[in-house]
Chain length 378, copies 2
Amino acid sequence: MKIINEAILPRGFKANGVSAGLKKSGKLDLALFYSEIPAKASCRFTMNRLQAAPLKVCKDYLKKSRVFQAIIVNSGNANCFTGSSGVRDAIQTTKYVADYLGIKKEAVLVNSTGIIGKMLAIDKIKSAIPDLAQGLSVAGMEKAVRAIMTTDTFTKAITARINIAGKVVTICGTAKGAGMIAPNMATMLAFIFTDANITQKALDKATDVAVNESFNCITVDGCMSTNDTLAVLANGASRNNLIKDGKDFYLFLEALKKVCLELAKMIIKDAEGATKFIEIKVEKAKSFNEARIAALAIANSDLFKTAVYGENPNFGRIAAAVGASGIDIKEEDIKIKVSSLKKKQVFVNVGINRGKSSATVYTSDLTPEYIKINAGYN
Amino acid sequence: MKIINEAILPRGFKANGVSAGLKKSGKLDLALFYSEIPAKASCRFTMNRLQAAPLKVCKDYLKKSRVFQAIIVNSGNANCFTGSSGVRDAIQTTKYVADYLGIKKEAVLVNSTGIIGKMLAIDKIKSAIPDLAQGLSVAGMEKAVRAIMTTDTFTKAITARINIAGKVVTICGTAKGAGMIAPNMATMLAFIFTDANITQKALDKATDVAVNESFNCITVDGCMSTNDTLAVLANGASRNNLIKDGKDFYLFLEALKKVCLELAKMIIKDAEGATKFIEIKVEKAKSFNEARIAALAIANSDLFKTAVYGENPNFGRIAAAVGASGIDIKEEDIKIKVSSLKKKQVFVNVGINRGKSSATVYTSDLTPEYIKINAGYN
């Protein structure tokens, strides 16, 4: 597997980003991703019961068909808690895109990220779409990656290349997210494009595994978003032998996992106000899920996170968080190791002496800067 | 019911506080509460699986008997995550007190609060007990109330007086707690003394109801403590007609609820680094428990708490927190009202259109000062 630390679109994909005027700053705020040929889609959404309007629209379209050609994304407004008007705006957005590209609106996924509870400036989006669509290109991906950012301080993209029986298959992913990050999904958007020729079933399975071990293992503030979406589009343009199972599937899975995990880590590295990148591994659990529950309990403890910020090696707070996680743990079974807190990267290792499974979770410290960013965000 | 905003010990109770040298500051750190006659006890402890050594000892004693005469409490060290040595130290502490007072060690409850994971300086406690016990008096309550404090910035005490068939019954409570506060129990210690003559069954029932609607409805940081303890001692010294049920029981219950609720609110008013006192009422829920779950989801959302700190009326964060609470809620059923955020006291009212029950939860904002306090606490 070859890893490239930037976005290189696979065959058949194009993208672009423009400023539609949704962000007061005038920064790029509307992105379009496009596949010249219909692509199989596998999507995952937040578990929050309050779901943003575009998620409702995507879910509705996904019920009808799993084949898509475009993803339209705006930043600066989440189009959430906006009632039936919000849903109408999201549908309208897919229609504008579809009309311009000459495809069905049901072939367009739509996403929004930004503030909750404000109506979308749909006219601005409508006006921006001709420029956005005309400018679609392979190089346009760089602008698209920037256009999905909100409080992100750097762009997040990565590309993996694998060889499936003599054909090069590319998996290119981009993500945004810096706050309101918690698993199921983390509060974020992630879009992954591949030219792999793969069955829908294999694509869904690979997506499940990859998301579970990456985006579902990160947390910034334990706050579950209303807009989290991950979409994988596979257009088959590399004309590799159809991936179904066996060795080819595992090659694809490993590459997809790598792309997801690296994007997830980038989100944590960009966590709002963070000064530390914290990796928490819980070992000797009864299952991966149990290990992840314990690790997330630590990762979501404000007291633990402030202790790391203060470079204050307070093991008691780690033990207390594990004890509060709901796992039936005994004091004498908890073994804690923590690397030096003076460094930017901190490793926490917790053994719980209950079994053979482990899970690794990524988080950041809780800082006065996080509060400053979120107290003023409006 | 008459309410007095200070600690006035009921008949038959004495208390004292001294400095045993557990706190570096030299402040009072060892408290003793004593009933001249054996008292019925009703206790509640944290749900954290990691339980401090004194809790293990108290639970063991409570299995043998429900009659107690003393509570010994140290601040500055939680005696938690301290293994079998910690348990030995807690037992030893009850023994020193018992020997000096001429009672059984199994009649002494023991508690600790402070840093987790450090061994107790048991010799300092041993040396301090003679002075502590000799100084027991009604007026000594003032020192005892101060000696249980850790990061608390003010003492927390209240007294309620009721009339049971011509006899005055007094209920006097004190509490400590300012951080690591979450329900089940909140991270805190609370000791309540009454001269009521009441059956064990009625005392237990009243304690259950009062705790559920007070200490289990507050949160500072969602971090569940390892030491939370509430103990109610009823010594019967007022010689009122035995309280079992009916009107007398409800009179007693209302007074106990009032004492618990006021102490719980004091803890929130003293929350680490807080600038706001936030009251969150969720209405039209299917049950009290459902309403409380929704209210606590809001109260524990870092994004909501920072928004209140920033006086930033971000309704979307309230809706997102309710949506993430696990309750099967529909967007159109959420109705949110928030009072002016410019004031020190903030009221949040959320209707969820599912039933007729409501619950009120109390919390504080999340501030840079909270982080400063907890980053440096060691």
